[in-house]
């Protein structure tokens, strides 16, 4: 509702003429365009669109017009106000963008400053390599089995078909836990975990057992008295050496990539019969260094093949020692050195690097190998 007519003043009403309104708009637009920053824009807004601005005052006077002129003037002033508002908005967008750009330009930093304030640590590559190898088997349905490092001699030797005076016991020099007759040794291999798995688990059994083992070797570039192995064991009906070979081929491919060539070579282990060594064709020289002194290969020692581990069909005597029906079940088993695998997979040349705990070694591998 418009205001009372009592204050009607013809002089003021003249401000509502078309020319006057256009003039107001032109002044307002010019002032807005001239605003160099948001503060100036704010002042321009107050002056040309605020309560005391000419247009606001003009608007107020519309009510005083005779009814016939009201609509016309109202339309005119309304358009003027819209024009000014639009100019303000447009200018504001531009000025905000300018201001933001300026602020961010001022806030720019040297992004090449070192950003290693909390460097990533590392897990030992032997740990992560064991995990990775285990992962391959978990994906095939195997479980991870474990056993103690100080182990019953019975599980480490006797049950694995290594009787007390067997020369195989001297193949691996054993740490005995005092006294020598205690029947407790530091396990010389992860194979006693096979015995535990077969005593503890339901058939069929598919397990893989990574772990730490001990032999009385002095530490040097290629030997360490404390090292790691991963053992695999499958006991089921109808298992064959071909299954063993296929399993090792799969592991080799996962660890060394497509195209790796494996070889099973007859060998001897008391706990497997038939037994084999698993060799990998040297993936550096692919055998080209053999008999060619001009192309020596450090990875395989110019042998063309790298010994990776031992394997075979579980000796029925071992199955017998844990009470598994040898008429019905057969098994295969394999084991390989983690250190060796790391040495030729990742090019570690000195065994001591793996055991000394120098953080520079581990950090180079990050959190996974």
């Amino acid at each position: 509702m418009s205001g009372p007519n009592t204050n009607f003043d013809p002089k003021q009403v003249s401000a509502l003429s078309a020319e006057a309104v256009d003039q107001m708009v032109a002044e307002a637009v010019a002032a807005i365009a001239a605003a160099g920053d948001l503060d100036e824009l704010k002042a321009a807004r107050l002056a040309h669109s605020g309560d005391r601005s000419p247009i606001a005052l003009a608007n107020r006077e519309i009510g005083a017009l005779p009814p016939a002129a009201k609509a016309d003037a109202g339309k005119r002033v309304g358009q003027a106000r819209a024009q000014v508002k639009k100019a303000l908005e447009d200018r504001e967008v531009v000025l905000i963008a300018e201001r933001d750009e300026q602020v961010m330009r001022a806030e720019a930093v040297d992004v090449t400053l070192p950003a290693n304030r909390r460097p990533l640590g590392g897990r030992h590559p032997l740990t992560t390599l064991m995990e990775r190898m285990s992962d391959v088997f978990i994906s095939m349905g195997y479980d991870i089995a474990e056993g103690p490092e100080a182990e019953a001699e019975w599980a480490n030797f006797d049950a694995l078909n290594v009787p007390p005076d067997h020369p195989a016991r001297t193949m691996q020099d054993t740490f005995y836990v005092e006294s020598p007759d205690s029947g407790v040794v530091l396990r010389t291999q992860t194979s006693p975990i096979q015995i535990r798995a077969m005593l503890d688990r339901e058939l069929p059994i598919y397990v893989v057992a990574p772990g730490r083992v001990y032999r009385t070797d002095e530490l040097d570039a290629t030997h360490t008295p404390v090292f790691h192995q991963i053992e695999g064991l499958a006991v089921d009906e109808g298992l064959t050496m071909a299954d063993l070979k296929g399993t090792l081929d799969h592991l080799a491919t996962q660890m060394f990539g497509e195209g790796i060539v494996t070889r099973l070579r007859p060998s001897y282990f008391p706990f497997t019969e038939p037994s084999a060594e698993v060799d990998l064709e040297c993936f550096v020289c692919e055998g080209a260094s053999v008999g060619d002194p001009s192309r020596p290969c450090r990875t395989c020692g110019s042998e063309g093949w790298i010994e990776w581990g031992g394997c075979g069909m579980v000796n029925p005597r071992v199955l017998q020692a844990v009470g598994i029906d040898t008429e019905k079940y057969r098994g295969f088993a394999f084991g390989m050195g983690i250190e060796r695998t790391l040495m030729f997979r990742n090019g570690v040349t000195d065994m001591r690097d793996m055991v000394e705990g120098d953080v520079r070694f581990t950090q180079a591998f990050g959190v996974d190998v």
Binding site: H124, T127, G141, V177, G183, P225, V226, P266, S267, E273
Partner: protein
């Protein structure tokens, strides 16, 4: 076993163009591990010539005695050669490398002036020619071996190839030319003339000296003992060069003809032999256990104290040899021995192995007996050696005495289809039979309703063949492992990692992500390391197993804590210049000693009873999985951002809390309280409990420990029982229930006595606030102005939220009052 290709060729008609490497490849495929193939005289080029030393002039003007020799090498004039060796006399045949010849190691001989003479060549030792290791003197050839000017390379077997084969314990038969020859013949599928089958060429016994009787008083350990008597042997007869070469190529030195023949026949056939000086023997030669307290000096001049576990060869006076291991010094043949008693016997493998271990004595003989030799071989090998003694040393044969127990026959029954089933590839019955026959088995086939059953009698030289599985290996290895197909079995659905395995992996990953580095240290420790950690005498961490045969006498104990290993690793890193360190280890520790009172040994022919298995477990020390960490220097490095931050006791406690939380333990189950480990700073250490159970310890390492260890001051450590954490942890954690209503924040500062722990204040706040309190965070600890002496101000940021509504100011004010009242009544706290 080292053997020359020429020796193999003598036994097997190997294709003429086959090289040592070719033969090696065949043997490797059949399961003999050929470690290397070497050339005799590798690196030698140019002629080497047989020379006769005409004249020796001793030059004495030099620091060492030097000889100026005139050597006839077949030319018109003798060559003058300087030589430093002294093991030859005028008239000896030697080997000369003339100028122009290159010796191994790229050493080319030139005519050069040395010791005031122009030396026209070099008189060589075995090692200088790359033939063997002997460098005690130059090579002196036996008279009649060759003439001056002859090609010495041919005489010495230069250019022959040596296969060095590692023999696995099951293949004792391959510790002989006979055994390797057989494998080569099988590999090439050509006939093998077993040298054992050659007709004996012994003369009739002369019978002018009665042989000593022999006996075995322990037929189980020695079921076969033979003694052949040879008299009138010429001790000065030389060993023919071909035999010297073969011994050398097999890694043995020529000693004297009689000894060389026993060694040669052992290498040839695999039967160890021992030659006694017949005239030193008295009465019956018998085999029996030693009497406790007896002593025998063996030929290596070591006095061996004997016991009832030792099997000895004895005459009327006592022990004269350790059976199958080493002979006695008193009865050894010497360079004047003319009458010889030649022992050839079968000793049981395990008794020889035990003696070898007890006396720390391994000989060529014991290596063969330990692996099991051919039970029928002794008389054959003894005849072969006797023939050689007569032929080469002119001895006279006087006959043989022997004692022998009856021999068991071994027959293994196996289905002909068994190898095929185990291998997973087709191998027909015919192939099975022919393969087993090729390794020397006698096979009979019985076809009945159940199929084709084979009865297999292994040959005497294969004591390792006892089970069907052994026969399967023989068949499959000779069919060829390379022919095995590659298939994958179908395992039943698996279970993935166990909870404990997942916790371990998680904890390792979490710590690494926090910038820590994993180390793996040896678990061997010393008492000194325990002392260095200031542990009390009755500290349970000292109660650890001891090794009977530690690598180092200084570290005979197994670790009862991971801290000694971490300290050593830290010292190594600090020593190498890495002083800002945060390392951790995850591994087993050992607790409790092993009682040696009675050892438990279940049998191996059936599953152990539960009681037996439990008894075995009880033998073992406890081996919980621990996790520990150690920090030195800056935890956050100095950089352009500032000075860095030195690791402090809180980092150690925090790591422990993070580990527990990684195992799914809610923070409100965890209590941290002051600790009392003597290895830590008495005022800066905490023990951490979960539901009241102690899980670990953390804090600043005792300054004294750090000083002794040479580690930076303020270094911190943590150790926890990961098995305990795993047991307390929660695998499948329940989802939280939380309100979406607005949070209300309040800060509150309370003044309490300085000895009141922050933890207790927080607990009182929680109690006073009730269920509306969502979180309490201590953000300031202040002592000083405006706080009375002996007091401190703790400022907490509190967050409140209701499950069902927006909290009103009046309600919050009431809670605040309740908090202050609770703290006042519990702890005497007042609002600051």
């Amino acid at each position: 076993m080292r053997i020359s290709l020429s020796w193999i060729r003598e036994l097997v008609d190997v294709p003429a163009n086959a090289t040592g490497r070719d033969v090696a490849a065949r043997l490797i495929s059949a399961g003999l591990e050929v470690e290397s193939v070497e050339n005799v005289g590798e690196g030698l080029s140019g002629p080497i010539i047989v020379g006769r030393v005409h004249e020796i002039e001793e030059l004495t003007d030099f620091k060492k005695p030097i000889r100026w020799c005139q050597v006839d090498i077949g030319g018109d004039e003798p060559s003058g050669i300087i030589c430093g060796a002294r093991n030859f006399v005028e008239g000896d045949l030697v080997v000369v490398a003339p100028p122009g010849t290159t010796l191994p190691g790229d050493f080319t001989i030139t005519a050069r002036k040395t010791y005031d003479h122009v030396s026209n060549g070099m008189i060589c030792s075995e090692r200088e020619l790359g033939l063997g290791e002997d460098h005690a003197g130059i090579i002196v050839l036996a008279e009649g071996t060759a003439a001056p000017g002859d090609d010495a390379a041919a005489v010495l077997g230069v250019g022959d190839e040596i296969l060095d084969i590692a023999i696995t314990p099951d293949r004792g038969y391959a510790l002989s030319a006979r055994g390797i020859g057989r494998e080569v013949a099988i590999a090439y599928q050509i006939a093998f003339d077993d040298p054992v089958d050659r007709p004996e060429e012994l003369p009739a016994p002369a019978q002018d000296r009665a042989p000593n009787a022999c006996a075995s008083d322990d037929l189980a350990s020695c079921p076969l003992f033979t003694l052949r008597t040879i008299t009138d042997f010429d001790p000065s007869a030389p060993t023919p060069q071909w035999m010297v070469n073969r011994l050398r190529d097999s890694g043995m030195r020529s000693v004297s003809l009689a000894v060389d023949i026993t060694n040669y026949v052992m290498l040839e056939l695999g039967q160890p032999l021992h030659a006694f000086d017949l005239d030193s023997l008295q009465g019956t030669v018998r085999v029996d256990r030693a009497q406790p307290g007896e002593v025998l000096e063996t030929i290596d001049h070591v006095e061996r104290k004997l016991g009832n576990d030792d099997l000895t060869i004895r005459d009327d006076r006592g022990p004269i040899g350790l059976a199958g291991t080493m002979g006695g010094a008193d009865t050894e043949i010497s360079d004047t021995t003319t009458n010889i008693a030649l022992e050839a016997a079968f000793f049981e493998a395990s008794i020889v192995a035990r003696m070898g271990r007890r006396h720390r004595l391994s000989s060529e003989a014991s290596r063969r007996f330990e692996r099991g030799i051919d039970r029928t071989l002794a008389p054959v090998a003894s005849a072969r050696a006797t023939e050689l003694l007569i032929k080469l040393g002119g001895g006279r044969y006087q006959g043989m005495t022997a004692v022998e127990a009856p021999m068991d026959t071994r027959v293994i029954t196996m289905a002909a289809s068994h190898p095929e089933a185990v291998a997973g590839m087709p191998i027909d019955a015919e192939r099975v039979v022919s393969t087993l026959e090729s390794v020397g088995c006698a096979v009979t086939s019985n076809i009945d309703a159940h199929g084709n059953q084979l009865s297999v009698e292994p040959p005497a030289w294969r004591p390792d063949l006892t089970d069907p599985a052994d026969l399967v290996e023989e068949v499959v290895r000779l069919v060829g492992y390379e022919n095995l197909p590659s298939t994958l079995p179908t395992a039943p659905a698996g279970h993935g990692r166990t909870w404990a395995q997942r916790v371990r992996r998680r904890v390792g990953a979490v710590l690494a992500a926090r910038g820590m580095t994993e180390v793996l240290t040896y678990p061997f420790v010393s008492q000194t390391e325990h002392d260095a950690l200031r542990w009390n005498d009755d500290d349970p961490r000292r109660d650890v197993p001891r090794l009977a045969n530690p690598l180092s006498d200084e570290q005979p104990l197994l670790r009862g804590s991971l801290l000694p290993g971490l300290i050593a690793a830290a010292q190594r890193n600090v020593g190498r210049g890495t002083t800002d360190l945060s390392i951790f280890e995850l591994g087993s520790i050992f607790r409790g000693s092993v009682s040696a009172t009675e050892s438990v040994r279940p049998g191996v022919h059936a599953r152990p009873s539960d009681q037996e298995w439990d008894a075995l477990q009880d033998l073992l020390p406890q081996q919980p999985m621990h996790i520990a960490a150690l920090w030195t220097g800056a935890g956050e490095p100095r950089g352009w951002w500032g000075t860095g931050r030195t690791t402090q006791w809180t980092d150690a406690i925090e790591a422990l809390l993070v580990i527990a939380e990684s195992a799914g333990i809610d923070p409100d189950r965890i209590t941290v309280e002051p600790g009392s480990d003597p290895g830590f700073h008495p005022g800066r250490q905490a023990r951490v409990l979960v539901d009241g159970t102690r899980i670990g310890h953390a804090g600043e390492i005792h300054p004294g420990v750090l000083e002794n260890a040479g580690l930076p001051a303020r270094s911190c450590a943590m150790e926890a029982d990961l098995d305990a954490i795993t047991a307390l942890g929660v695998d499948a954690r329940p989802a939280p229930v939380f309100s979406t209503h607005p949070v209300a924040k309040e800060d509150i500062a309370l003044v309490v006595s300085a000895d009141v722990s922050a933890d207790r204040v927080a607990a009182s706040i929680r109690q006073g606030a009730g269920e509306l309190l969502e979180d309490v965070t201590l953000f300031d600890v202040y002592e000083g102005d405006q706080v009375p002496d002996g007091h401190k101000s703790l400022a907490f940021a509190l967050r409140f939220r209701a499950p069902d509504r927006t909290l009103e100011a009046e309600e919050l004010a009431g809670v605040r009052v309740a908090i202050v009242e609770q703290c006042a009544s519990d702890l005497g706290a007042r609002l600051r």
